[in-house]
Each structure stands twice: as C-alpha cells, then as structure tokens.
Subunit: 175 residues, 2 copies
C-alpha cells in the first residue's frame, strides 16, 4: 500500500532529478516539489521535514528559487517564521530566469567575440589579407548567431505576458 507521504516523496524525488538534469542542485528541485504539492505556504522547518535536507541547504536554495521567481516568500502576521509558496505560473518564472541570466553572463560571451573581431578589423597580428578576411567573416557569423539568440531571449523576457497562447502561436509559425 502506498501512503500519502510516499506518493509525495516520489514526486519530490522526481523533481530533484529534473533539477539536476537541468544543471541545478538536486535540493532546489526537491524544495520546489515540496512547495508545489502544498496548498499552504511552508516554513523552513516544514521544508526540512518534507525534504530531509538540513536547514542550511534549505536556506540557500530557497533564496535561489526566489531569485528565479519559482517560489515567493509569504509573511504571516504575528509570526516570525518565513513561509514560502510555489509560483504556479511557470511562464512567469521563465521570464524572470531569462532576465537574470541575460545580463550577467551571456553578454560576456558576445563581448569576447566582439573583442577579437575588433582586433582583427584594426589590423592586429600579421595575418595575410586572405586569412584575415576569412577570420573576420567567421567571427561575424558567430556574432550574428549570438545576437539572434540574444534577441529571442530579450523579446521573450520583455513580453507583457508569456503564456500557453504565445507558445501555441509560435509553434504555429514553426510549422
């Protein structure tokens, strides 16, 4: 016989796996899973209980989840504890994550390519004419690709409302 706790635990375990497949800590997925299955916001101690992780792990991963927009802090009056609840609009979280990832790191990639490109165009090095032209062409192509990705993520993150309807209309275009 499968108990209620076991069913929930299986799901939490599954989310844990999904999390690490996408390159996030397992604990992060587990915590989200626990919150997602709860109709009421949960405190840190309740999350310790529900996931089997320590308070430290919960504390750091709860912060990460909040930054991603996947959960939200909830305050109860006359209660010092912090409570958290799961965001149910995943598309909203996608936007938050794209915005975050955007600024920090992807720009560095583009920047790195542009730097090399500018050097070449300024005549750095002693490449013969033909090779310089070849290198410039390749780097420009790469830069354009990065810019395209950048445009898409920017467009998505700036939408007023991303949802199933937007996704469906995109799919329609792709056919």
């Amino acid at each position: 016989m499968t108990t209620n706790a076991q069913i929930k635990q299986d799901f939490i375990q599954g989310m844990s796996g999904i999390s690490q497949f996408w390159g996030f800590p397992k604990a992060l997925g587990a915590i989200f899973g626990a919150l997602y299955l709860s109709s009421a916001p949960l405190s840190l101690d309740e999350l310790v209980e529900g996931t089997g992780l320590t308070k430290g792990a919960i504390s750091t991963n709860v912060r990460a989840l909040t930054r991603m927009g996947l959960i939200h802090p909830v305050t109860k009056l006359a209660d010092r504890k912090d409570y958290y609840e799961a965001e149910t609009d995943f598309y909203k979280s996608v936007q938050v994550m794209l915005q975050g990832r955007q600024n920090s790191e992807f720009d560095r990639a583009i920047h790195s390519v542009r730097e090399t490109l500018e050097q070449l165009e300024a005549g750095a090095g002693s490449f013969d004419k033909k090779e310089r032209a070849f290198l410039i062409e390749r780097l420009q192509a790469l830069q354009e690709f990065f810019n395209a990705i950048d445009s898409v993520t920017r467009a998505i993150s700036k939408l007023d409302r991303l949802g199933i309807h937007t996704v469906q209309s995109v799919i329609k275009i792709l056919k």
Copy 2:
C-alpha cells in the same frame, strides 16, 4: 605586440569560457574554437598543438562535438589521420542538439509527473477529496507546461531549415 597565435588563443579561451557557462566541458569549447578559426580541417595532433590539451581529452570531446553536429569528420584519401572541421551553420547544430536531448532525458521528466498523476487519479493514498483534487490540478498544470516545452523543441527540431529568417519571424510574433 599581439601575435597571430595570441589572438587566436584569446578567442579559444573565450569559447572555452562560453562552453562552461552553458554547462559543457571547457575543452569542448576550446576545440570548437580552434576548428572554427581554421580554414582547413585539423587532425587530433594539430588540435593538441592548438589547444594545449592531451590527445585523450581531444578524442572524447571531439566525439561529443560530432554528436552535437558542431563539427564534422573529414577523411583525406591515403591519410590515416582523422580530420575535423567546424560546422558553420549553427542553427543546424541547434536542431541536432535538440533532437538528441529530446529523447533521452526530458521524457523522463514528463514520465515522472505523469506517473504520480496517474496514481492519484487511480485513487492511490488516502487523501481527502479536496486535497486529491488540489494535487491533481497542480500536476496537470505542470504536465501541460512540460508538454508545451516539448512541443516547441519538437517543432524546432523538425523544421526543414532553421535559420535567421525563422528566428526573425518568431521575434516578430513576440512583439
């Protein structure tokens, strides 16, 4: 004064960083960078020379890059060495990667959710009516989200030709 080798090395270093930002081995990015800056296909030993990695590392990462469609093996007649050249159509690589990632692991995520959902719908556990309805609703929402992602990636990977024009028309929709 910046030498030709230094300029290339800087770029290779940059690609190495981009690679690890996207969750791939640094060596993978470095190898691609070296090939991308070469007008002629390169052998393993030339890649050892160009990247400073050992033959073993080159061997394994070259295989990974080939699977991703980011580079291609090239055979020269009457030459036992394996040569590789960079794919210059990045959109094509995106398709290859989506196809690969598709089958293996994402399905497991969807499967895990469906499993829990089916259990609940079959009456497993001893949840009261209200909670069971709540859980089923949440899991259905999650499943729909996963399905939407799945649809998008499937649609992209099945396009005859993905390119800058497709990307642009998608962006237009998003505005």
